[in-house]
């Protein structure tokens, strides 16, 4: 694969809420320490849709952070020498946080929360819904041949789901409710199904819950259950204020809510902190995970991600793809670049 010419296509949020365009932009040059990557397949995530709605403010940005692609150029720093030269031409995935390495958080092992970080397609760094994009060399992970593009593109969200499963403390055999039957909920359910726990998915979509049936994961429609506070752990993957409010009513006193959803405060459904205190709930925020964990799980065929693909399209039809991905019958929409 060759690098694109001086200009390329990029699917961009214009900064005006709801406005997305497939633009022609300059092909980026990797800075020292970075690689230029041509994505072959990319996935649309709820965060992309939130950014289109204005979640990260009004700065225009090229969208996208889930990809598998090929390294077409490496630009190592002097210290890196030729350590990364072998990455050229390789099929890679890449973690999305580009960090400074020198702030207090980087130095204390929390580099994923680097104070100066840019985040691919999310914050200060153009994303992978384009013919090419840049990431630090240190972020890249070669993909084994045994993991095809359809599965490799799930490494990022799968890593996030595995990270969630690592954040909860298991005592006895806990009851875990995964709230939300979307992309992330279904990944979390599959990963947590492997724990010593009783896992169920509570969702709103019969067709999405049918995927759980295939995996042998317990599932129910939200409308069919009572919200009795009896779950040891609730993983909120709904991305909605109502989801968090429901989670608060489902979790038992001294139980844990793992919050995977990002959403803006909503005046009609405010978060009630008194409930957290009275029931001594533990709420834990959960973001990105470790790529090697997800690559390993895919290589061992421990997780079925292909069943989540409900639509394939192309970057050329990216504007429509984003609209599609927001529809309630879609799970994962992939685009070929």
């Amino acid at each position: 694969m060759k690098a694109p010419g001086p200009t390329m296509r990029a699917l961009r949020s214009t900064g005006v809420a709801g406005c997305v365009e497939l633009a022609t932009v300059e092909t980026p040059e990797p800075k020292p320490g970075e690689a230029l990557i041509c994505p072959t397949r990319v996935g649309i995530c709820a965060t992309d849709l939130e950014i289109c709605r204005g979640y990260m403010g009004d700065t225009p940005i090229t969208l996208g952070h889930e990809f598998v692609g090929v390294v077409v150029k490496v630009n190592p720093t002097e210290t890196q020498g030729d350590r990364y030269a072998k990455l050229k031409g390789k099929r890679v995935v890449g973690s999305i946080n580009a960090v400074c390495g020198i702030c207090d958080l980087c130095r204390s092992g929390l580099s994923v929360h680097c104070r100066e970080r840019t985040v691919l397609g999310i914050q200060g760094r153009d994303g992978c819904f384009a013919d090419a994009f840049c990431l630090p060399l240190v972020n890249l992970h070669e993909v084994p041949d045994s993991i095809d593009d359809d599965r490799a593109v799930f490494v990022e969200p799968l890593a996030a789901a595995i990270h969630a499963s690592q954040q909860i403390r298991l005592e006895g055999k806990p009851y875990i409710t995964v709230l939300g039957d979307g992309r992330l909920g279904l990944l979390c359910a599959q990963v947590m199904q492997r724990l010593n726990a009783s896992v169920r998915v509570i969702g709103k979509h019969t067709d999405k819950l049918a995927i759980c049936e295939k995996w042998g994961v317990k599932h129910r429609l939200l409308s069919e259950i009572g919200l009795r506070g009896d779950q040891d752990i609730v993983v909120d993957c709904t991305g909605s204020p109502q989801g968090f409010a429901d989670a608060m009513r489902m979790v038992r006193p001294r139980g844990t809510i793992l919050l995977k959803s990002t959403f803006a405060p909503h005046p009609e459904t405010p978060v009630d902190p008194a409930l957290i205190v009275i029931n001594e709930i533990q709420v834990i925020g959960s973001r990105c995970g470790q790529f090697p964990d997800a690559i390993d799980a895919l290589a061992r065929d421990q997780v079925d991600v292909v069943s989540l693909i409900t639509r394939r399209t192309t970057l050329e039809r990216g504007v429509e793809a984003l609209r599609l991905a927001g529809e309630s019958d879609q799970v994962k929409v992939l685009m070929d670049v």
Copy 2:
């Protein structure tokens, strides 16, 4: 001490927000398994003020849950036999949750969160701001002579502060900020000062922070510090939505906010759940503690509670005392009954 006659005084929230009265009511009869207690000294807590404002709804209730008093009548169940007979005439404090003992939470060691519980002076059970009140015999703890009434009345809030210190996990020597220089903040600070941690109190009142000076606890005015996200643990004792919002900005990524404050959602200062996710914050609600821990700490003179007493008055002047306790220059207001 003798039980009061057929009627007695009781400081009651009438159920109309802001309306409190010193009423004449029937003296209660202890049910099987309960004791009748005549309080000698009681303390006013922020929760009392919140209940007056309508925090628990519009059911009238006798206020108060911090007390030291004398058992004047015991009414054991048949199974209890005369095990509790020796409590009669004894000086006691008592935990405030009266539990059923048979629900799923009681049976799983979470009886403090009993689904059928009543809570002294808070929920479904008339409180201790009266000439007499009832509590289950199993809730009572005899107070050693070495702990005088002034100190014994702090057992309940001190137990809550100790419980908070037990809920946080210490790694290395963490930076702990106690946010709020009120009653509970100052108790938490003193207790946490004994941990292997660097503790500071951030407050708004020079005179209250001066008490920290006496204890050798670091302290600063909120207006003097920047809200950089660098604290490992923030204990929010402000009781205000703004306090929780400040705590979110003070805590480092993957840090812990211990939420002691109960407050209603506030439209102007909503809780932003996206911050919890992006910074992977852990928010832990914290309520009541174990009385023996607090009795022990007082008996060993590990905690100075007497410095927190800013006003002494009587139940007879209870309406005024509640108003006083809400003023910003007061820390702990006690009433003799």
